[in-house]
């Protein structure tokens, strides 16, 4: 204090105690310093009403309904006052009375105010029965209203975009939605407009809501203002029961409650697991239940007769499948199964089909567990603790969206480097380092000293790439998190659905360790990788192919090879939920149950195993993969033992191809990037996503646009084929690149290089033959 205004009473004091003692309704209690009265009151099991307060958001003190009476310094040194419990912390000696008459009166007045412009359309309101406005009015409000004037009217049943419907009249201006958009997402999809009692919630310019996390608003909203289109008029809360389960739309595995009316899923809701999902869901997870009733669901077993797929009995289908597979089969898929099913598939492949020709890697992802490559894995919460995070060609918002929410929060204090050909975080939130896919290893080595110097470095990497990239990552010493392409890639990898490993990361040479469990020793010669299997199919060196939850025509990076393989293979069995492009080629189709229709466990990206529950029966005659696999094994004459082998104490490492370099060619380098609603899994077949799926797009840097405008229909002419797409100009794409959506049909049909050209008039988006 030399020359500035003196701070009052700046004597050095002992650090204040970390807890304070106060009384709540006369009951003495102790809380950590800084605890808000509202939290304190809730912790001692007392109730007060609140609207704007929400444990996941910062307090604003807007609704004024959480009034309590307090007495004591410093807030009420001169006698009792009423104050908002959500903005006032507890102080030493504070006397808090939740049921004091002045507080009760203040709450009553606020509740009366809240209803004066409210439409009171409870009978037709989706929130009726679980509405805080109903509940608190009943518990704390006045019995009658003195309001006898005209109400303010606003927009009702307002379409806010793909999933949200807004009733502005029901809004009580708690701003939870607006604050969530700001504080949690760092977005501005919902804003306040106008002033006073004309204030409304809306999107910025009245445009459709554009974001991946809109649905959380419907649970934050304490009233029936923000509701889900999919749930409108579907059920009443007293009609539904909740079944806890886990989302399987990506490898994160957010926890959710499936709400059931009878056997129908009517909505999916948050089931907070703060260390995993932070208490949020993305829209793909929340609204991805429409596929249960998709018209493209497979409901009966089918066998190809005279060129056409004909419905048959299960016995018949299994018999035909077994007979065909017995001639020498390879297996692709398994990364969408449960852990138990993946193990069953592993056993069936090894013991009933007698081969190691099995691979879950029907996409671009090359591994699931960093540990399998000798790297150090990370936890989801490693993001919170990291001080330096490098995103390696990974867009969390599209690939494991809820993890992106965590990353956005971390990015406020940690440095984030966004490395790769496409910008994956908004400008300003991360340090952008443009790098071609082939250049990633070199760029990571450049970052290695900084990563090594960091306290808690973390690499988030989608698991695509080469051994060269793995070695570069190993140099950094950073922990690694792999948000994969398939929901249970880790479970599949652990189950040995790779050609070089048995379950439990066990060497093929150690197969004898399984002899007791499996009743025999699995084959010891290395099998073929997905690429080798497809090439062998194309070359007619494999007689039969068994696809389990796999659609290589859409997902395999070399789409031309996949097409030629499926065209050539003499016998194809497809076990899936939908009439996929690959299923259309099948000789036998086995209809399987989906993620909400079966039991088991799944292994998330960080290795945590979670239980999934069967919440609904599923359509037609579809059966759980576990059941199909065991019945097929029986038909193959080698029933499954179904044991779960331990993890090997001498785990082997996966080896990736040395480089991912491609030949040079003219045109734009084609890269695939995750896109939430584009394809993959169930989303491509989910009618709930029809409004957001849109036509397949290609994104290029404006300088590569050849004078074409955003929104134009274009042709991308690759070495392997021509794809019709809608052009999007995106300065976030590195010049010289053409970005297509992973798993979007056609994205893998181009080859590594392509030329952009204007489409002839009237051409619709889709895939064209060359």
């Amino acid at each position: 204090m030399s020359s500035a205004p003196p701070a009052a009473g700046a004597a050095p004091a002992a650090p204040p105690p970390t807890t304070v003692n106060c009384t709540i309704n006369g009951q003495p209690c102790t809380f950590p310093r800084g605890t808000l009265i509202v939290d304190a009151v809730r912790q001692v099991g007392r109730n007060i009403p609140f609207y704007c307060y929400h444990p996941k958001l910062a307090p604003v003190g807007a609704c004024r309904v959480c009034m309590v009476q307090v007495e004591g310094a410093p807030v009420a040194a001169r006698g009792p006052i009423v104050t908002t419990a959500c903005t006032t912390p507890v102080f030493e000696g504070l006397k808090i009375e939740t049921m004091a008459e002045p507080a009760k009166l203040a709450r009553k007045q606020v509740l009366e105010f809240l209803l004066i412009n409210h439409p009171l359309d409870c009978p037709v309101c989706d929130k009726g029965g679980e509405c805080d406005l109903q509940d608190f009015t009943l518990a704390y409000g006045p019995g009658v209203s003195g309001f006898a004037e005209t109400k303010v009217h606003r927009r009702k049943a307002d379409d806010l975009g793909p999933f949200l419907v807004l009733d502005q009249e029901r809004c009580i201006m708690c701003q939870r939605c607006v604050r969530y958009e700001n504080e949690v997402l760092g977005e501005f999809n919902l804003v306040l407009k106008q002033r006073g009692d004309h204030t409304v919630i809306d999107t910025g310019q009245g445009e459709p809501y554009a974001g991946h996390f809109s649905g959380n608003n419907t649970e934050l909203c304490p009233v029936g203002a923000l509701t889900s289109r999919t749930y409108r008029f579907k059920a009443r809360p007293w009609d539904v029961r909740a079944v806890p389960t886990v989302c399987q739309a990506c490898s994160l595995g957010c926890n959710l409650n499936a709400q059931m009316r009878g056997d129908a899923v009517v909505r999916l809701m948050l089931r907070d697991n703060m260390a995993l999902d932070g208490g949020w869901l993305c829209d793909r997870g929340r609204y991805g239940f429409g596929h249960i009733r998709s018209e493209r669901r497979l409901t009966q077993p089918m066998v190809r007769r005279d060129g056409r797929l004909c419905p048959v009995s299960w016995e018949e289908a299994l018999r035909v499948a077994a007979a065909g597979l017995q001639k020498g089969a390879a297996v692709l898929g398994g990364a969408r199964l449960t852990d138990e099913e993946a193990l069953a598939l592993s056993e069936l492949t090894r013991m009933a089909l007698g081969t190691n020709d099995v691979d879950w890697r029907v996409g671009a992802q090359a591994f699931a567990a960093p540990e399998a490559l000798g790297l150090q894995g990370a936890e989801v919460t490693s993001i919170d603790r990291a001080d330096l995070i490098v995103l390696v060609d990974t867009c969390l918002a599209e690939e494991a969206p809820v993890l992106d929410i965590r990353l956005r929060r971390a990015a406020r204090k940690a440095k984030v480097v966004d490395l790769g050909p496409v910008r994956n975080m908004p400008v300003g939130r991360a340090t952008r380092v443009v790098a071609a896919v082939e250049d990633l290893p070199r760029q990571i080595l450049l970052l290695a000293p900084e990563l090594r110097a960091a306290q808690a470095p973390l690499i988030i990497w989608n698991g695509r790439g080469s051994q060269e990239l793995v070695d570069a990552v190993a140099e950094t010493g950073a922990r690694v998190l792999v948000p994969g392409e398939f929901s249970n890639a880790r479970g599949a990898e652990a189950a040995g659905l790779v050609p070089t490993m048995l379950p439990g990361y066990r060497a093929l040479a150690d197969g004898h360790e399984l002899a007791a469990l499996w009743g025999g020793t699995p084959p010891a010669t290395a099998g073929r990788s997905a690429r080798e299997i497809l090439a062998a199919c194309r070359d007619r060196k494999i007689q039969a192919l068994y696809l389990v939850g796999a659609n290589p025509l859409r997902t395999f990076p070399d789409g031309r090879l996949a097409r030629e393989a499926l065209d050539a293979v003499p016998f194809l069995v497809v076990q899936d939920l939908f009439t996929t492009e690959s299923a259309e080629h099948a000789d036998v189709v086995l209809p399987a149950l989906g993620p909400l229709e079966k039991e088991g466990t799944v292994t998330g990206l960080s290795g945590v195993r979670q239980k999934v529950r069967r919440v609904t029966a599923g359509p037609g005659e579809a059966r759980a993969d576990r059941v199909i696999l065991s019945q097929l094994a029986e038909a193959l004459g080698r029933p499954l033992r179904g044991a779960r082998p331990e993890v090997s104490d001498r785990p082997v490492r996966l080896e990736l191809p040395m480089t991912s370099a491609v030949h040079a060619a003219p045109g734009l380098r084609v890269v695939v990037a995750g896109q939430l609603f584009a394809g993959g899994g169930t989303a491509a077949f989910d009618p709930n996503f029809a409004p957001v799926r849109g036509d397949p797009q290609v994104r290029v840097h404006p300088q590569d646009a050849r004078g074409l405008a955003s929104g134009t229909r274009v042709h991308l002419r690759g070495e392997d084929g021509v794809v019709k797409l809608v052009l999007r100009l995106d300065p976030g794409v590195a010049p010289g690149h053409a970005v297509v959506a992973a798993h979007d049909f056609g994205s893998n049909q181009l080859g590594p290089w392509a030329e952009l050209e204007a489409a002839p008039a009237q051409a619709a988006a889709g895939v064209g033959a060359q």
């Binding site: 701070a7 004037e149 006073g196």
Partner: protein, 429 residues
């Protein structure tokens, strides 16, 4: 005993010109401070002066400054020139007619508190004031009075002139910060208080333009000089804006403690001939009515509090017997309904309800029970239950009107014509 400190020279000289302002002694206080005083010295003089905030609450300026934490973060000074209180126009005059005084005061305050930047926030409607002030700041910058190394010293500070978009709430000390940050003008909860975490989360002092303008005289003449003017606890002068039913509406700089009667009857020329004072709204629409019986109350913070009204911004709205209390209340309710920011429930919903009731009463559609309803509304909105003081302001004047003129409200409940208007008509016949 009339002292003109802030308005000295206004009307005679073009003080918007830097050379004119300097020729009359302008920027000598700044020169004195920068050459002979430490920031602590300047602070001490302000403390000695006992200067109280002119923005409404009358908080001690030095006390507010002293609560700035000493933690190395950049500090900001905001000059509150939002002045949206109905009937207040003293700040406007200072900005338009004596901008360099405001600027010099700001520089002195910035020096005393080691501010990183000064923001002068002007009411959206002050087109002309913004132009004049911007020009004044540019002129001063050219003369080495704003920017780095002011007058060759080590001290430097930037000054930003910002015009609001026209909202009363943006004069509230935290809404002004949201507004400056480019957000909606919504008040924030306290704590944290602005001096701990204000504009952009940094320690911030916010003072009214008139408060800051007073710092010039205090530094020039010493804190003791200022403390000796007027009442001990409310020293200095106050520019009062008088409007309504007076013969000479306008701004009058009076010594604190001058009786309200003197302001109205002498300075403002008294009421229009043949009319009698009915009540005064001394702080625009946000204070309780002052009735004729209290007309001798000295105009200072504490005396005005003692009659349960307040000095506030001293925007005096004078009403005579022709003004129906219901009509005035209706106008006030319209203002508050329009200006409620909508963030918190009682004010957002209550001001609209109040206006709707008064609108009916004013337009011959009153209903029995309306007066009682208004009283209930005042209880529901008032009593510090709102997030900011606007809610309380919106009922203070109404409550005092209801208790001072109950018969006028009751008459309007009957749904008939206004008795006050009827009486005026009779008188005019």
């Amino acid at each position: 005993m009339i002292r003109r400190i802030l308005t000295d020279g206004i009307g005679e000289f073009d003080l918007t010109r830097l050379d004119v302002y300097r020729a009359r002694g302008g920027f000598q206080a700044l020169h004195k401070a920068l050459t002979t005083m430490s920031p602590q010295d300047v602070f001490n003089e302000v403390k000695t002066s006992n200067l109280r905030g002119r923005g409404g609450a009358g908080a001690g300026a030095a006390f507010k400054w002293s609560t700035l934490p000493e933690d190395g973060r950049p500090r900001y000074l905001i000059l509150n020139g939002d002045e949206s209180e109905p009937g207040s126009f003293s700040g406007r005059m200072l900005i338009e007619k004596n901008p360099h005084l405001v600027l010099e005061g700001a520089l002195l305050a910035a020096y005393a508190c080691k501010m990183a930047r000064v923001f002068i926030y002007l009411r959206g409607e002050f087109h002309e004031g913004a132009q004049i002030l911007t020009r004044a700041v540019a002129e001063a910058r050219e003369a080495g009075l704003v920017g780095p190394r002011i007058l060759g010293s080590e001290f430097g500070v930037e000054v930003v002139v910002h015009r609001g978009a026209g909202a009363y709430i943006c004069g509230e000390e935290t809404a002004i910060m949201e507004s400056l940050e480019g957000k909606r003008g919504h008040p924030r909860t306290r704590p944290p208080f602005p001096t701990a975490s204000g504009l952009y989360g940094m320690p911030t002092v916010i003072n009214n333009v008139e408060t800051i303008a007073n710092v010039v005289g205090i530094v020039a003449n010493g804190g003791a000089w200022f403390a000796a003017i007027g009442p001990e606890k409310s020293p200095g002068t106050k520019i009062c804006s008088v409007s309504g039913r007076v013969r000479r509406p306008g701004n009058y700089e009076i010594q604190m403690g001058t009786p309200l009667r003197e302001l109205i009857e002498e300075h403002a020329g008294g009421l229009e001939p043949g009319h009698q004072l009915k009540f005064v709204l001394p702080a625009g629409a946000s204070s309780a009515l002052v009735l004729p019986k209290d007309l001798d109350t000295p105009l200072d913070f504490d005396s005005m509090m003692s009659i349960r009204s307040m000095l506030g911004s001293a925007g005096m709205l004078v009403c005579d017997e022709r003004d129906c209390a219901v009509h005035v209340a209706y106008l006030g309710s319209r203002f508050y309904h329009h200006e409620s920011c909508g963030k918190c429930t009682p004010c957002r919903e209550g001001t609209g309800w109040t206006e709707r009731v008064l609108h009916r009463m004013e337009h011959g559609a009153g209903r029995p029970g309306d007066t009682e309803r208004l009283q209930a509304l005042c209880r529901g909105i008032g009593g510090r239950k709102c997030l900011c003081l606007l809610g309380d302001f919106s009922v203070t004047y109404l409550q005092s009107a209801l208790s001072a003129f109950p018969e006028e409200f009751v008459a309007h409940e009957q749904g008939g014509p206004c008795p006050v208007a009827a009486a005026v008509e009779v008188a005019n016949r």
